[in-house]
């Protein structure tokens, strides 16, 4: 029963964040009634097989959502700091190169900063003239080194489960809310299920409820997409990362920042895409209007 109330609660909250579009859908009768319908079969199945995640992520507000979405440079820089100081000890980011971190509209670190940052890492290069591999300081063209040499080493060091690379994680995780929301998402342009999930997971660690036994090495988290508990211990704590810009040093803020950063890592051209998309839409709407008038003129004398 608790499951269905949670789904319904999540749905109601989601509706609130959707604003105007949500109101339209209410008018159409697509709203709460549909949400209840969607919850009913879930409730039925609860007894047979539990469906994960146990709780759906809360919807956060993101600077990069919607028609005019843009990344917040300061937030991406903080997010990178969280990744670097916390996540990177276990998780790789192998598709991101140091040079990417200087991207305008992305983290936008200065040239010198990128160079200095890359040089802090040691990268294996070679072979040299005598056929030996050698270590050298990183360059902007190098990719961020992963913490483990291969998946086997990563698994061995982490109790059998390799921590996933985070390059695409923000597009590789999405929790469905049911068909009525999927339809609504088309109109509200909801594409932030990944960062919502990351934020929910990182802030969602809690003590297991009465009667729930967590397997050894597991950490209870009702937001985890594939089970009641995951192998990763709660990675963040308040005050763990020192922000230079005075932003709150809380788990909630860290999670939000790192989720935004990972969205950028997964979709670095998001800002270009939305900017161009808006121009294309304007062009097409005007073009369609002109074609309609042309059509009307040509067909004016022909009843059809």
């Amino acid at each position: 029963m608790s499951l269905s109330t949670e789904i319904f609660g999540g749905a109601a909250m989601r509706l609130a964040t959707l604003g105007a579009a949500g109101l339209i859908s209410l008018g159409l009768g697509l709203g709460p009634a549909a949400a209840q319908e969607g919850a009913a079969p879930q409730e039925e199945h609860e007894a047979e097989t539990p469906h994960y995640p146990l709780k759906k992520p809360e919807l956060e507000s993101w600077s990069f959502s919607g028609l005019f979405g843009r990344f917040d440079t300061a937030q991406l820089q903080r997010g990178f700091q969280v990744y670097r100081e916390v996540c990177s000890s276990c998780h790789g980011l192998k598709l991101v190169a140091f040079r990417h971190l200087g991207q305008e509209g992305g983290p936008h670190f200065g040239d010198a900063e990128v160079r200095a940052l890359a040089a802090e890492y040691q990268v294996t290069d070679g072979p040299d003239e005598s056929g030996d591999m050698f270590e050298r300081p990183g360059r902007p063209s190098d990719y961020l080194p992963s913490p483990f040499p291969n998946a086997q080493a990563a698994a061995a060091a982490n109790g059998g489960a390799a921590p996933p690379d985070l390059s695409m994680i923000a597009k590789a995780r999405a929790v469905g809310y049911g068909i009525q929301w999927t339809i609504l998402d088309f109109f509200t342009q909801y594409q932030e299920a990944g960062p919502d999930y990351i934020h929910a997971l990182l802030t969602g660690y809690q003590d297991p409820p009465e009667g729930v036994t967590v397997p050894p090495g597991g950490h209870y988290n009702p937001y985890f997409i594939a089970g009641p508990a995951l192998a990763m211990p709660p990675p963040l704590s308040d005050g763990q990362v020192t922000y230079a810009d005075g932003s709150p040093q809380t788990v909630d803020q860290y999670s939000r920042d790192v989720a935004a950063f990972l969205m950028w890592a997964a979709e670095p051209h998001l800002v270009d895409r939305k900017r161009m998309g808006f121009q294309v839409l304007i062009f097409l709407v005007i073009f369609a209007g002109l074609m309609y008038l042309t059509k009307k003129k040509i067909w004016a004398d022909i009843p059809h």
Binding site: L95, K171, G277, A288
Partner: protein, 416 residues
């Protein structure tokens, strides 16, 4: 029905060429002078939209192939290289991936338009069958294209679909091994899928030429479902159909742009951003949305072989539609009973699509079975029967008359 070409090139070079290869005349008679029914509505613009989508898919696909690496270890990274480092690579890839969805959306509308207005009936049977062949080729092409990024869903979709062939008695296992190029889905499978994914669109283009040719022999159907009888029933393709098709296409492109620029991953599956892992089966393996109704039919049958047979039969049955529908009246506008069953069939198809996306358990299985039975009953029982039982409304004597009665009897001349 093909318009007799009165095409006369203006330049002497043009006349010299035309007398040796009458290419200009062919284009002129097919796309300029070609008489098109005057009463066509916007559902008829989807032929032009589909032609555009085929060309768009080929153009974006050829460029993507310049940056893609068909190797099991490198494929996903090469796709991400396109997304991150190739100039406008993200645009090309999102256009191509979502273009497949738009292509299917357009083809489903095109098919259901044909179903509603009886476009498959005499004399357009061959035209219809060529269309079904194009649809089958599209499905094969789209499936193989989905495998190419070599993400989790790519890999497991390839595994599920190729395994279907193992249901064939006696030779099934051998055929499956042959398809894979090994004893499991692997690098050889990816290589041949890439090769075929590049080949099939050109086969589609070839059959499209035949499809258009057949269309120009039999002439276009129209909302009234009656033949062109006099010049008053038709208008020349250019400018009338050309401008209408262009307007329809631009409207369709607005939808396409909305998806590509603002919802590029809406129609995809998040698991396909996880590298393929043969040792880790995803919680739910689901195909792309356009295959869901057929996937639901496959899963509704408890027996593997019969399930595969039912799935292929659900598409093959369209080939026999011209003879299963016994009514002589084409358009549903004049078929009160058929019109209702048409919409029930649409709902049945949407329902199967929804069920295909759900886990195969509980009520979903039962609902899937009911809709599967209904799907086949529509073709095998309902269509043959209502053709006999139904009393169609009286048909107008000509397309011109149909327009006149629609416009409240105002003669064409008085309006001009």
């Amino acid at each position: 029905m093909a318009g007799t070409s009165t095409y006369q090139p203006k330049s002497s070079v043009g006349r010299w060429f035309e007398s040796r290869l009458p290419l200009g005349g062919l284009i002129h008679s097919s796309f300029v002078a070609y008489p098109t029914p005057r009463n066509l509505n916007y559902w008829w613009t989807f032929g032009a939209i589909l032609s555009f989508m085929l060309v768009a898919q080929i153009v974006t696909g050829v460029i993507l192939a310049m940056h893609y690496t068909p190797n099991a270890d490198l494929a996903l990274n090469s796709v991400e290289h396109v997304m991150r480092d190739v100039n406008y690579g993200w645009l090309l890839r999102y256009l191509h991936a979502n273009g497949a969805s738009m292509f299917f959306l357009a083809v489903y509308i095109h098919i259901f338009r044909g179903l509603y207005y009886g476009s498959y009936k005499e004399p357009r049977e061959v035209l219809w069958i060529l269309g079904v062949i194009i649809f089958l080729l599209m499905m094969a092409t789209a499936f193989m294209g989905y495998v190419l990024p070599w993400g989790q869903m790519s890999f497991w979709a390839a595994t599920v679909i190729t395994n279907l062939f193992s249901a064939i008695p006696l030779v099934g296992e051998t055929i499956t091994t042959w398809l894979w190029g090994g004893f499991a889905v692997g690098n050889p499978t990816l290589n041949r899928f890439f090769s075929l994914h590049y080949l099939l669109p050109f086969m589609i283009a070839g059959v499209v030429v035949l499809h258009v040719w057949a269309l120009h022999v039999s002439g276009q159907n129209n909302p009234a479902g009656i033949d062109i009888k006099t010049n008053r029933d038709s208008v020349p393709f250019t400018p009338y159909a050309t401008v209408k098709d262009t307007f329809g296409l631009v409207c369709f492109l607005i939808l396409f742009a909305w998806v590509v620029f603002f919802l590029p991953n809406y129609l995809g599956h998040p698991d396909n951003y996880i590298a393929a892992d043969p040792l880790k089966t995803p919680a739910h393996i689901v195909p792309e949305w356009y295959f869901l109704p057929f996937y639901a039919i496959l899963r509704s049958i408890p027996d593997k072989l019969l399930g595969v047979v039912a799935m292929f039969a659900s598409i093959a049955i369209f080939l026999f539609l011209p003879w299963l529908d016994t009514s002589k009246v084409r358009s549903a506008v004049y078929r009160p009973l058929y019109k209702q069953f048409f919409w029930i069939f649409v709902i049945c198809g949407l329902g199967l699509g929804y069920l295909g996306s759900q886990p195969p358990e509980g009520v979903y299985v039962i609902a899937g079975r009911i809709l599967t039975i209904y799907y086949f009953a529509h073709f095998l029982i309902i269509l043959p029967l209502i053709g006999i039982l139904e009393r169609p409304k009286p048909l107008p004597s000509s397309i011109n008359d149909a327009i006149l009665s629609k416009n409240g009897g105002v003669p064409a001349e008085s309006k001009a």
